[in-house]
Symmetry: C2
């Protein structure tokens, strides 16, 4: 039993001054700093708080500093904290208090992107040429692609990107394939999902800022482009798309579900094979 | 044409002192700070460098500060930088120089996990009970699960986790299903891939630190556990696993490929339907 807890009444501890903290579900505490504070006021509060948390048997201590409080980053690091993750407007630091290996969760490791294979009843594919990026000026007609936003479902990101780039309304059908690659951005990895979409509207209104050109192109012309024939990954993706149109290729469809904790998620699986039940 | 570029010879600019920077592929520069430097030496160097980069038409300026250089975070933020991402040992800051909307890449948004469905020829599933986590003490026998490491392929992570938790050697066969969920950790999302593996060894040697128990369990007993029957997501995953054993359910197999830039990646797709070609 920690000694100090038994000897010092709560009221006196509060007089010394402690940081406001919220318990987390893993015997840790989270401090979220939003108001400006000078380091010489902050550091004594942090030290007193760390002392109490140790006595209480706390494990992970999280400190979230808004970027307006960048002046506190160095003092917090000097108190034994390391970085955990950062977003544009804040930095999260963490310190593991016990003398054991930490079980702190890892940072996010992947970005997620989509490519949309949108086909009309004439077996024409919706394709674009981009103003920037790796294929700028190559003449390659490619599927509309984009990055899945934070908190966005893959199946919804595909619909959104098609609408944004081409003005076409479409429905998600299934994921035909996906690709994982590494070191895509600094040390981070990348998951790219090729999604089949069914168009609901057909008149193209391209986005001027990113898209140089957009059109409906016969599937054969799309697949036969030299770049798609010469590069293994592009060739496979193009051939999988063609196979989907010509034969009995089934990808993963999306089923919305609610988890035990009430969270809405999507499960993606081979719905045709499963529903033969 | 910027004025100063024409008037000041390169040699004089270097005498003022500039930060070492490497050009990136997007008209930006990357500064990686590893050696200790006092802020009052660093700030004049940064200001002179920013001035030159603006003249050169540079766009994104990246500054990577190792955690030993936390003293420079506040000065860098005061020069108009924001956070981009952080890992335990460094913080990446960025500033967009042009007077246009930035096209800087987003941070990683997802963590990736795997669950391994390992089945022997007796239709028994490899299951574990964990010492910690959400199912501690519930009696639920679950598939071995784990987090995909930075830079690790999904198909290899499944094999590694099975070996680590149970001592069983196994081969990756295919991905049966996957689930995307949001707000899993702070604002980050989570992708969880259910992988089918074929065991090569059969004698269980469980990992003592995380695993309370491990065994081979008849598939029926696994699926029929009350928790798996009462929770929609778990029920679907369990039924998809059973379907795989009993009928003609095909997931996505993994094909290694090399990209145009020489990077090794995996493409996951319905190999059975595609290879009917």
């Amino acid at each position: 039993m920690p000694l100090k807890d038994q000897m010092v009444p709560d009221s006196e501890i509060e007089q010394v001054g402690l940081l406001d903290a919220v318990d987390d579900l893993y015997d840790g505490v989270v401090v979220e700093m939003k108001q400006h504070m000078d380091a010489d006021i902050f550091v004594p509060l942090l030290r007193a708080s760390l002392s109490q948390w140790k006595q209480q048997g706390k494990r992970g201590v999280w400190i979230k500093l808004s970027i307006q409080l960048a002046n506190l980053v160095y003092p917090v690091v000097q108190e034994g904290f390391r970085y955990h993750h950062a977003e544009p407007d804040y930095l999260m630091l963490v310190r593991w208090l016990p003398n054991t290996a930490d079980t702190l969760p890892v940072n996010a490791t992947h970005r997620v992107g989509i490519g949309a294979f949108v086909v009309n009843d004439n077996r024409e594919v919706l394709v674009v040429q981009e103003k920037g990026g790796a294929f700028k000026g190559t003449g390659l007609w490619k599927l509309p692609t984009g990055v899945v936003n934070e908190g966005e479902d893959i199946c919804k990101a595909a619909v959104r990107e098609v609408k944004e780039e081409t003005g076409i309304d479409a429905e998600f059908v299934e994921i035909l394939a996906f690709r994982q690659s590494h070191q895509s951005f600094f040390s981070k990895s990348d998951l790219f999902f090729v999604c089949l979409l069914r168009p609901i509207s057909f008149a193209i209104q391209k986005q001027d800022s990113e898209v140089a050109a957009a059109q409906w192109m016969p599937i054969k012309d799309y697949v036969d482009q030299p770049y798609n024939q010469e590069h293994q990954l592009f060739k496979y993706v193009a051939e999988i798309c063609r196979t989907k149109l010509e034969r009995d290729y089934v990808g993963f469809s999306a089923m919305p579900m609610v988890t035990a904790s009430g969270k809405k998620v999507y499960l993606y699986f081979n719905g045709r094979d499963f529903s033969k039940l």
